[in-house]
C-alpha cells in the first residue's frame, strides 16, 4: 500500500488553484487565438483581443483571469492501493482549497443560500468545494480541478427527454439552452453535454466533459461527429464574443455518455453545462 502525506496533498491542491486561476489553460489559449482569426464581426474581434491581452496581464502578474474565481469543483479518482497519512483525503482537499483561495488573493464566492451572507469565518475561505470521488485500480490519486463561475452555471439546464426525441431532440435542447443564454455566460463558450445515466448523472457528466482539452477528439466516432455538427449549428446563432454579435459563439462542444451510452428504457436524460471563455481547469496525479 502506497502512503501519501496529508500535507503534500494540501500543497498540491493549493498550488494548482493559484496557478490555474491566473494562467489561461493552453487549450483555451489556442482556441481563443483561433476564434480571433476566424471571427468576422469587428466588435467581437475587439472583445477577443481584450481576452488575449487579459491573459498576458494575468500570467505576468499572477492575477486572477476573472474576478469570479468560482466554486472549486473536483473530480477525484482514488486508487485502491493508496492511503493518506495524517488526515482524510476529503479534509486535505478542503484545506488545500481554503489555503489556495486565501493565499492566492482569490475571491471567496460561497454564501448561505438564504441570508446570502458570505460565511468564510464559519465554513472556511471559499468552502465548501464540490467533490466527486471514484474508486479505481492502482496506487495513485488523480485530481481534476475547475474554478466554475456563477454566470455560466446560472444558464446551465438539465432535462429528461422522451426516448422518441432521439438525437434531434438532444440537438434542439442544446440549441435552446445556448440561444436563451445569449450574452450572459461570457461567450465564446465550451458547451458540456451529458447524455444518459439518470437525471443527476447526466448533469455530473456534462460538468466532467468540460475537463477534456479542446481539440482532443471524442473517442466515440459517432459522438465526435455529433459534437462537430452541434458546434457548427450553434455558431450560426450569431451571438458572438460577449454577445455582441458574431460568428464565434462556441469554441467546442463536449459530449459524455454513461457507460458507453446507457440509460433507463423509459428515459433520455440530457444536461447542458455551459462554461465561459476562461474555462479554468487543471489536472494532477499524486
Amino acid at each position: 500500500m502506497r502512503v501519501v502525506k496529508y500535507e503534500d496533498i494540501v500543497k498540491s491542491i493549493k498550488d494548482m488553484i493559484i496557478y490555474s486561476t491566473t494562467h489561461l489553460a493552453p487549450d483555451m489559449q489556442k482556441a481563443l487565438e483561433e476564434a480571433y482569426e476566424n471571427e468576422k464581426s469587428e466588435v467581437s474581434r475587439a472583445v477577443l483581443a481584450q481576452l488575449l491581452e487579459n491573459a498576458v496581464i494575468a500570467e505576468k502578474e499572477w492575477k486572477p483571469l476573472c474576478q469570479d474565481t468560482g466554486l472549486a469543483i473536483y473530480f477525484v479518482k482514488v486508487g485502491t492501493d493508496v492511503k493518506v497519512e495524517g488526515g482524510t483525503l476529503k479534509e486535505a482537499i478542503y484545506e488545500g482549497t481554503a489555503k489556495g483561495y486565501e493565499e492566492g488573493y482569490l475571491r471567496a464566492s460561497t454564501c448561505d443560500c438564504f441570508s446570502r451572507a458570505n460565511l468564510k469565518d464559519k465554513a472556511g475561505y471559499n468552502l465548501p468545494p464540490i467533490i466527486y470521488f471514484d474508486l479505481v485500480e492502482g496506487d495513485k490519486i488523480d485530481i481534476e480541478y475547475a474554478a466554475k463561475g456563477g454566470g455560466s452555471e446560472n444558464v446551465s439546464r438539465a432535462t429528461v427527454l422522451a426516448p422518441a426525441a432521439g438525437k434531434e431532440g438532444i440537438k434542439e435542447f442544446v440549441r435552446k439552452v445556448v440561444s436563451d443564454a445569449g450574452p450572459n455566460p461570457c461567450p465564446p463558450l465550451v458547451v458540456g453535454v451529458g447524455i444518459g445515466g439518470s437525471f443527476d448523472m447526466s448533469a455530473v457528466m456534462s460538468k466532467h466533459s468540460l475537463f477534456r482539452n479542446i481539440g482532443t477528439p471524442n473517442p466515440d466516432p459517432e459522438l465526435d461527429a455529433l459534437e462537430k455538427e452541434l458546434k457548427e449549428e450553434l455558431n450560426k446563432l450569431g451571438i458572438g464574443a460577449m454577445g455582441m454579435g458574431g460568428t464565434e459563439t462556441v469554441l467546442a462542444v463536449h459530449i459524455e455518455t454513461y457507460e458507453n451510452r446507457m440509460c433507463h428504457i423509459a428515459s433520455l436524460p440530457v444536461a447542458v453545462n455551459i462554461q465561459c471563455h476562461s474555462s479554468r481547469h487543471s489536472h494532477i496525479t499524486i
Binding site: 486572477p64 476573472c66 474576478q67 469570479d68 451572507a117 468564510k120 458572438g240 454577445g243
Partner: protein
C-alpha cells in the same frame, strides 16, 4: 459606431449622444454594487433615507472584485451578470443614475427607464478582469463592508473601456448584433 471619452458624473447631454455599439472610455469617480448592495440602496430610497453616495449623474459598476494583492488598489475586477440588478435599477435611474456597467441582457423595465429618464447601460468584457483592473486607480469601501466582495466601493477610473449596449433611444446591441450575424 463612434468612440467617446467621457468624464463622470454624466449628464443628459452626455448620455443622449451615445448610441448602442459606441465605444466609450470613462474616467472619474464611480461606485460598485451588486444585488445585495442594490437591495439595501433601494430600501433606503423607499424609506426616504439618505444614500451612502449621491446617485445623481453617477455610474454604478456591477462588480465583486478579488481581494487586492499588496500594493494594488483592487484585485481582478470584471463585470458580473446584470439581470440580478434588474429589479432595483429602474428606481435608481428615476433618482438620477446615468450609467450602469455590467454584462448580459437587461429586462424591459430597465430599458424603458433608460429611455424615460435618459440613462445608458454599458457592457464591459466579462472575464477581462485583470485588464479592466488596470483602469481602476483607486478603490475604497464606503458602505456595507460586511458584504465582502459585494460591499459598495468608491472607485476612480481612467479610460475604463465599455461598449454602449442599451442607449436612451431603446436600441439594444445584443439584439442588433445577433440579428446581423444569425444564419437561418
Amino acid at each position: 459606431m463612434a468612440e467617446y471619452k467621457l468624464k463622470t458624473p454624466l449628464n443628459d447631454e452626455d448620455v443622449s449622444k451615445l448610441k448602442s455599439g459606441d465605444i466609450v472610455y470613462l474616467s472619474g469617480v464611480m461606485y460598485t454594487a451588486r444585488d445585495a448592495a442594490h437591495k439595501r440602496l433601494v430600501d433606503l430610497i423607499l424609506s426616504g433615507e439618505e444614500l451612502p453616495f449621491d446617485v445623481k449623474g453617477t455610474v454604478i459598476y456591477y462588480v465583486g472584485p478579488t481581494p487586492p494583492k499588496p500594493g494594488n488598489p483592487i484585485g481582478s475586477a470584471g463585470p458580473t451578470t446584470s439581470y440580478r440588478m434588474d429589479p432595483y435599477a429602474p428606481i435608481l435611474i428615476e433618482h438620477g443614475l446615468k450609467g450602469m456597467i455590467g454584462k448580459g441582457k437587461r429586462n424591459e423595465a430597465v430599458k424603458d427607464a433608460c429611455k424615460k429618464y435618459k440613462a445608458v447601460y454599458f457592457g464591459a468584457t466579462g472575464g477581462a478582469a485583470a485588464l479592466i483592473a488596470k483602469a481602476i486607480k483607486k478603490a475604497e469601501v464606503i458602505a456595507y463592508p460586511e458584504l465582502g466582495p459585494e460591499a459598495v466601493r468608491r472607485i476612480e477610473v481612467e479610460d475604463f473601456p465599455v461598449v454602449v449596449v442599451n442607449d436612451t433611444y431603446g436600441n439594444d446591441l445584443y439584439e442588433e448584433g445577433r440579428k446581423l450575424w444569425e444564419q437561418k
